[in-house]
């Protein structure tokens, strides 16, 4: 299938995947990146585009549970897979995820542009390694750059979230 846009024919293909736990079925441009699909087709604008080149991590999303740069994944590569964005990080949308709360409490956010990516990376890190120490946290965030904070408050935010999640897991 093709549509005409700005005098160019654009090829479309059906994409079925799960985004933030919901089944999504949409026609998508075959050459589109996952990042653009999320932002412009699904209007999930929490995921940001920084460099668009795999350097900064502002576009981090979870693809089948693993954090990746959404600017380096084609939308159709997500076919049949699960995508989680910052909008779906908390199981209950009315309650913030401990990481989100941590960033607020510790003042880890300045301009905020990098934070969705930071949180997605950290969520995957704490899922894989719930006891992550400061060194592990630093390594786990190696793909996410922040130009405002100098990182110290971000590390504190993640450590707060880790303690909170540990408590929650212990109570289960």
């Amino acid at each position: 299938m093709a549509i005409k846009k700005n005098n160019n024919f654009i090829k479309l293909a059906a994409l079925r995947c799960r985004v933030n736990g919901r089944a999504v079925q949409k026609m998508v441009e075959t050459g589109k990146r996952l990042l653009d699909f999320l932002r412009s087709d699904l209007r999930l604008t929490g995921t940001k585009e920084g460099c668009g080149d795999g350097e900064c991590g502002a576009c981090t999303v979870l693809l089948d549970g693993r954090p990746v740069n959404a600017c380096m994944v084609m939308a159709l590569q997500a076919a049949g897979r699960s995508v989680v964005t910052i909008e779906g990080i908390s199981p209950d949308p009315r309650i913030l995820h401990p990481l989100q709360q941590g960033f607020i409490d510790q003042g880890g956010v300045q301009c905020g542009f990098c934070i969705p990516g930071m949180i997605m990376s950290c969520a995957a890190l704490l899922e894989k390694n719930p006891q992550a120490d400061l060194e592990a946290i630093k390594a786990g965030m190696s793909g996410n750059l922040c130009r405002c904070t100098g990182y110290e408050k971000i590390f504190r935010a993640v450590e707060q979230a880790r303690r909170e999640l540990e408590l929650k897991n212990a109570q289960r």
């Binding site: 990146r33 795999g54 954090p67 990746v68 380096m72 590569q77």
Partner: protein, 286 residues
């Protein structure tokens, strides 16, 4: 960006993937992790063959040989217990040093070799461990040393109709000592300035089967037989390492990025360090 893509295919077998590549050549390309193809796309590519559904994500030993599926991600290589023991864990360490965890989760070892940019991290280590690439081309399956694979983009070497499926490392490389000395502007920079790998067997204080490989300095990762010859059959000493490093310095003509003088200097220093490290590491294994 890959604006010209018209069709995406999801084959589930190697045979189907090769058939699709043949049907759409030369406009078809393989996509696995996507980190290289989205970064530097070829505008003539109109068909993408996504090999995610094919069972090419494994690290295993069969008949003594190590087999690594071409679609294995850098992170899986870094986490592989088997790889952490093979040749002192060199491949696993090299994979763990690939830029950031976001790239390591997506990028694959096959892409790193098929799209062999001069600074890619895996080819020098694979070459130092005598790895062969398995290529399925139509009805034929053939093997090619990684050293030959990386002389240019894969399609210049084996054509656009072939699929790289696996890497095989000979059983004798399991006990080989291997050290990597990588220098980049920052630890997470994908483009190393100089990447030196040394590997050898240490047999009763004598260097055997020495391999010296440099990445990121010339157009493709390159072995240095002159430096290897210096080491071969001799007992290790600091002056021997210096002599091998000098052979690299004399035989190297670096291209692009930073001055040639600077890179030759850094390359020879890193080669000396890698040889020293390889000699001093895991003595007890011998």
């Amino acid at each position: 960006m890959l604006k010209n893509i018209e069709v995406f295919y999801f084959p589930e077998t190697v045979k189907d993937a090769v058939r699709l590549l043949n049907r759409h050549a030369p406009h078809a390309a393989v996509i696995a992790g996507g980190t290289l193809i989205t970064k530097s796309p070829n505008l003539s590519t109109r068909v993408l063959v996504d090999i995610r559904g094919i069972d090419m994500d494994y690290v295993k030993v069969q008949a003594g040989r190590l087999r690594i599926g071409a679609r294995t991600s850098f992170q899986s290589l870094a986490d592989s217990k088997l790889l952490q023991k093979w040749a002192g864990g060199a491949l696993s360490r090299a994979a763990a040093a690939v830029t950031t965890h976001l790239i390591r989760n997506a990028g694959t070892i096959g892409g790193d070799v098929a799209r062999a940019l001069p600074y890619n991290d895996m080819p020098p280590v694979l070459m130092a461990l005598d790895a062969e690439a398995v290529i399925v081309d139509g009805k034929k399956t053939r093997t090619l040393p990684v050293e030959e694979m990386v002389r240019g983009h894969m399609w210049r070497i084996v054509g656009r109709r072939a699929l790289l499926t696996e890497f095989r490392l000979p059983s004798e490389t399991r006990k080989r000592a291997c050290a990597i000395a990588r220098f980049a502007r920052s630890a997470s920079d994908w483009e190393a300035m100089v990447h030196a790998v040394a590997s050898m067997e240490k047999s009763r204080g004598i260097c055997r089967n020495a391999r010296i490989v440099l990445g990121a300095v010339t157009r493709h990762a390159q072995r240095f037989p002159q430096a290897e010859a210096v080491l071969e059959g001799k007992p290790y000493s600091e002056s021997l390492a210096a002599e091998a490093a000098q052979a690299v310095f004399d035989g190297l003509t670096p291209v692009s990025r930073a001055s040639a003088e600077y890179r030759r200097e850094v390359a020879s220093v890193l080669v000396r360090r890698a040889i020293r490290e390889v000699w001093n590491e895991n003595e007890t294994q011998q």
